[in-house]
C-alpha cells in the first residue's frame, strides 16, 4: 500500500542492527498484535454483517440471521431502481466536492491571516472557531431556513430546493474545523521562505498562493476531506432544503430507510446494499488521500 512511500526516510531500516531497527517500536509485539486483532474484529464483524445482510433475503434479515440462507446478489441491481441513488450520488458528489474545495480554500486563507499576523481579538477568533462546534444543528435548522427564505423573497432568487442552499450551509458549517486544521498546520511551517519573499516585495496574496499553498497540500487535503464528509453525511439540513432533483445520497438513503418503516417487510437487503454503495465513494476517497490525511494532520502537529 501507499504507506511504504510515506514512511519518513528517517525511519528507514539502517543496517546497523537491532537498536536502529527497533528504535521506533512503541509496543511489544504481542500487545501490538492483540490490539490490532481486537480492533479489526470490532470493526469487521459489524461490517461483515452489513455485507452479508446486503445479499440476504429480507425475511431472513428480519428474523435476525447473521448468515444468508439464500444469496440475493440482485439486491445490488434492484436498489438502483428502488432508491434514486444515481441522482443522489451525483448531487452529493457535486455539493460535497465543491464544498470541500471552496472550504479548504477559505480555510487556508483565513488560517494564514490568523497564524501569521497579530491583531487584537485573534485569540477570541481562534477560540470562537472551536466554540462554534458546540452549536447544535437542531437549533440552526429553522433559522437558517427562515434566512434563506427571506433572502429569496428579498432578492428574488430561489435558494431553497437548489444545491446552492446546501453548498452555502455546508461550507459555513465546515469552515470552523477546517480552519482549525489549517491553523495548526500552518503553525508548523517555517517562515524563512515567506520572509525572504516579503523582503523581495511580494504581496500577502502572492505569498499565500505561491508559498503557503504549495507547502500545505497535506493540510489542505485534510480540511477538504473533513468538509466533504460533513456534506456527505448530513441529513438534517438536506432533508428540508432539497427537492427531488437536488436530493443528496444521504437523504435518498434516509428517505428509503424511513419509508420502509410502515406497511410491509422492509427491503433490508437493498437498504444495506444502498448503504454500502453510499459509503464506497468516501472510503475510496480516504484510501486515495490517506497519506495526505495522516501527513496533513502531522506536519503542524496539533500542539
Amino acid at each position: 500500500m501507499t504507506e511504504i512511500l510515506v514512511r519518513p526516510p528517517l525511519l528507514g531500516r539502517k543496517p546497523t542492527g537491532r537498536l536502529n531497527a527497533d528504535v521506533t517500536r512503541l509496543l511489544p509485539k504481542p500487545l501490538l498484535v492483540t490490539i490490532v486483532v481486537i480492533l479489526l474484529l470490532a470493526v469487521l464483524v459489524p461490517l461483515l454483517y452489513i455485507v452479508l445482510a446486503s445479499v440476504n433475503s429480507d425475511v431472513s434479515v428480519a428474523s435476525g440471521a447473521f448468515f444468508p440462507t439464500e444469496l440475493h446478489l440482485d439486491n445490488y441491481l434492484k436498489v438502483w431502481t428502488t432508491v434514486d441513488l444515481r441522482n443522489g450520488l451525483i448531487n452529493s458528489v457535486i455539493v460535497s466536492g465543491s464544498v470541500a474545495i471552496i472550504c479548504a480554500a477559505l480555510a487556508v486563507s483565513s488560517a494564514y491571516v490568523l497564524v501569521r499576523f497579530a491583531f487584537r481579538g485573534r485569540l477570541t477568533v481562534l477560540r470562537t472557531l472551536v466554540g462554534l462546534q458546540s452549536i447544535p444543528g437542531t437549533l440552526m435548522l429553522l433559522p437558517v431556513f427562515v434566512l434563506f427564505a427571506s433572502l429569496a423573497s428579498a432578492l428574488g432568487i430561489q435558494i431553497i430546493g437548489t444545491r446552492w442552499a446546501l453548498f452555502i450551509t455546508y461550507i459555513t458549517f465546515a469552515l470552523p474545523f477546517s480552519t482549525w486544521v489549517m491553523v495548526t498546520y500552518l503553525r508548523g511551517l517555517p517562515r524563512e521562505l515567506e520572509e525572504a519573499a516579503r523582503i523581495d516585495g511580494a504581496s500577502s496574496w502572492r505569498i499565500l498562493t505561491r508559498i503557503i499553498v504549495p507547502l500545505s497540500w497535506p493540510g489542505i487535503v485534510v480540511s477538504a476531506i473533513f468538509a466533504f464528509l460533513l456534506g456527505w453525511n448530513d441529513v438534517l439540513f438536506a432533508s428540508v432544503m432539497t427537492d427531488r432533483t437536488s436530493r443528496t445520497a444521504a437523504v435518498a438513503l434516509q428517505v428509503f430507510g424511513a419509508t420502509q418503516e410502515g406497511g410491509a417487510i422492509p427491503l433490508y437487503g437493498q437498504m444495506m446494499a444502498a448503504s454500502l454503495i453510499c459509503a464506497l465513494p468516501v472510503v475510496v476517497l480516504y484510501l486515495v488521500f490517506q497519506r495526505y490525511l495522516v501527513g496533513g494532520l502531522t506536519a503542524g502537529g496539533v500542539k
Binding site: 458528489v93 428517505v255 418503516e261
Partner: protein, 451 residues
C-alpha cells in the same frame, strides 16, 4: 502532485455541476392570475406527497402520468416532491409555513389535518372552492370526517382512504376450530390464547412502533366512551384509558399471545411475522399489506376482518361508547394559502379525485377511493376488500384539535417508557398510572394553548 490533480478534477466537475444547477434553478414559475378558464401554460405546480415504500417505481411512473395528463388539460406541469416519514412531513410543513413558500399542494396523512388547520396556512374551502373540485358530494361522507372542525371550516380534501382492519390466518383459525374472528377485544384475547402454540402466536403486534400503539389505546378508549380529548379537557386519567393500556400490554405479559420479541418490533416486523405464518392475527393493518401478504407464505390463506368494537371488559358497546372500527385514516389534500397557483391546485385535485383516477389509483397502490362512485364500483366487484370498505364506513375521526399531535406523541410515549418494565414483566399499575398522569399534564397544557 497527485492530490492537486485529483482535487482539480473534482473542482471542475463540481463547479460545472453548480453552474448547471444555477440554470435549472432560475426557472421559477411566474405568479398566476386566476380566471375562470384555467390556463397553466408554462407553469409548474409543486405537490408534496408521501413516498410510497411498496411501489417506488410505480409511484414514479404515476407522477409522470399525472403530470402529462395535467399538462394536456391545463398546460401546466406537476412537480411531485416526496417526504419519507411523518417526521419529514411535519418538518416540511413547518418550514414552508414559516417561510411562506413551498409546495402548492400537500397530500397529508389524515391525522395531521388538525395540525395543518391550526397553522392557518391552508385554504379553508368555500362553496366555490368545493365546486372547483367537483363538489363536496362526490366524496364518501365518512372520509370528510377529518377535513375540518366542522363542515363550514374544512381544509382537507379526501384523496385516499386507508381504514384499519385486522388480517387473520384462515388456516390457523380453522385448525383451532374458530369459525370467525371475535368482535370483542375480550373475545379476541381468548381466541389468540387458543391459537398460541409452540412458536406460533395468537397475534403479531409492534410495541416499539412510533404510531401503532396509540391507535389501539384510542380505539379501546373511544369504544368505552372516552375520546381522549373531550372538548377542552384531556382524559388520560380516565379508567377506560388505563384499561386500554392494560389490555394492550397484557397480551405480551400476562396472556403471552405475542412473540416476546414484539416488544422491539416496528409495524413492518409484525407484518413480517404474520406473513411468515407465525401469527394468527395481525390487528391494525390496512389494505396495503395485501401486497406483502400476497407474495408471502400466507398468500391465499389470509383474510381481512373488522377489528373488535366492544371495549375490553365489556360484552356489548357501552351506552356512551362509539363502535369505531378504525380512525378515519388515509390522505387529505390541502392547498397552501401562500400558493400563487391555487386554481391550478384545485384543478389538479379535481382531476385526481375523479372516479376514474381514483379507481386506477386503487389498482396501482391499494388505497381505497374517497370518490363515492369509485368506491361503489369497487365494492361490487371485490369480496376480499369488503371488510376494508366496511371499516371505512365505520371509522371515527380523531378529535379535531391543534393539540392532537401532542396527544398522539403522549399516547405512544406511555408505551415507549413502559417497555423496560414490560420486558421484565413487572409493570405495576401504580407506575402506569403515574405515566398516564404525566401524559395528562402534558396534553392538558397543549390543549390549553390550543386556539
Amino acid at each position: 502532485m497527485k492530490a492537486r490533480h485529483a482535487l482539480g478534477a473534482i473542482a471542475g466537475i463540481a463547479i460545472l455541476g453548480l453552474a448547471l444547477q444555477g440554470c435549472a434553478g432560475s426557472t421559477t414559475p411566474a405568479p398566476a392570475s386566476s380566471s375562470t378558464k384555467i390556463d397553466g401554460t408554462g407553469k409548474t405546480l409543486d405537490v408534496m406527497i408521501g413516498a410510497n415504500a411498496l411501489y417506488p417505481a410505480e409511484q414514479k411512473q404515476w407522477f409522470q402520468d399525472v403530470s402529462d395528463r395535467f399538462e394536456k388539460q391545463t398546460g401546466a406541469k406537476v412537480n411531485f416532491e416526496t417526504f419519507a416519514s411523518a417526521n419529514d412531513e411535519l418538518t416540511k410543513i413547518q418550514t414552508s409555513v414559516l417561510s411562506g413558500q413551498g409546495p402548492d399542494l400537500y397530500n397529508l396523512g389524515s391525522t395531521f389535518t388538525p395540525t395543518a388547520y391550526s397553522t392557518g396556512a391552508f385554504v379553508q374551502l368555500t362553496e366555490a372552492d368545493w365546486k372547483k373540485i367537483g363538489g363536496r358530494d362526490k366524496f364518501i361522507p365518512g372520509t370528510l370526517g377529518i377535513s375540518g372542525p366542522d363542515a363550514k371550516h374544512e381544509v382537507g380534501i379526501p384523496f385516499a382512504s386507508r381504514p384499519f382492519v385486522m388480517a387473520y390466518n384462515k388456516d390457523l383459525l380453522a385448525a383451532a376450530g374458530i369459525d370467525k374472528p371475535a368482535t370483542t377485544w375480550d373475545g379476541l384475547t381468548a381466541q389468540a390464547k387458543k391459537l398460541t402454540t409452540g412458536d406460533t402466536y395468537g397475534m403479531a403486534l409492534a410495541y416499539a412502533d412510533s404510531y401503532d400503539p396509540w391507535k389501539f389505546v384510542w380505539a379501546m378508549s373511544l369504544q368505552a366512551g372516552n375520546p381522549i380529548l373531550d372538548g377542552k379537557k384531556a382524559r388520560f386519567d380516565d379508567p377506560t384509558t388505563l384499561k386500554a393500556y392494560q389490555t394492550y400490554f397484557s397480551w405480551l405479559t400476562d396472556e403471552k399471545v405475542v412473540d416476546p420479541s414484539a416488544i422491539g418490533w416496528k409495524n413492518a416486523q409484525a407484518v413480517a411475522a404474520f406473513a411468515s405464518g407465525k401469527a394468527a392475527f395481525l390487528p391494525m393493518t390496512t389494505s396495503t399489506s395485501m401486497v406483502t401478504l400476497d407474495k408471502s407464505a400466507v398468500a391465499g390463506k389470509y383474510a381481512y376482518a373488522l377489528m373488535p368494537t366492544v371495549p375490553p371488559g365489556a360484552k356489548t358497546t357501552p351506552k356512551n361508547g362509539k363502535p369505531a372500527t378504525s380512525i378515519i385514516s388515509g390522505d387529505n389534500m390541502v392547498v397552501a394559502k401562500y400558493s400563487k397557483n391555487q386554481d391550478l391546485a384545485f384543478a389538479l385535485v379535481n382531476m385526481l379525485t375523479s372516479a376514474s383516477s381514483q379507481t386506477s389509483y386503487q389498482k396501482l397502490f391499494g388505497d381505497l377511493p374517497t370518490n363515492a362512485a369509485a368506491a361503489k364500483k369497487l365494492e361490487d366487484g371485490n369480496a376480499a376488500l369488503a371488510p376494508v370498505i366496511d371499516s371505512a364506513a365505520k371509522s371515527v375521526g380523531t378529535p379535531f384539535s391543534g393539540a392532537w399531535g401532542d396527544t398522539q406523541l403522549a399516547l405512544v410515549n406511555v408505551v415507549v417508557q413502559s417497555i423496560p418494565s414490560l420486558s421484565t414483566g413487572s409493570l405495576k399499575v401504580s407506575d402506569l398510572k403515574a405515566k398516564l398522569a404525566t401524559a395528562q399534564t402534558a396534553v392538558q397544557a397543549a390543549l390549553d394553548k390550543a386556539k
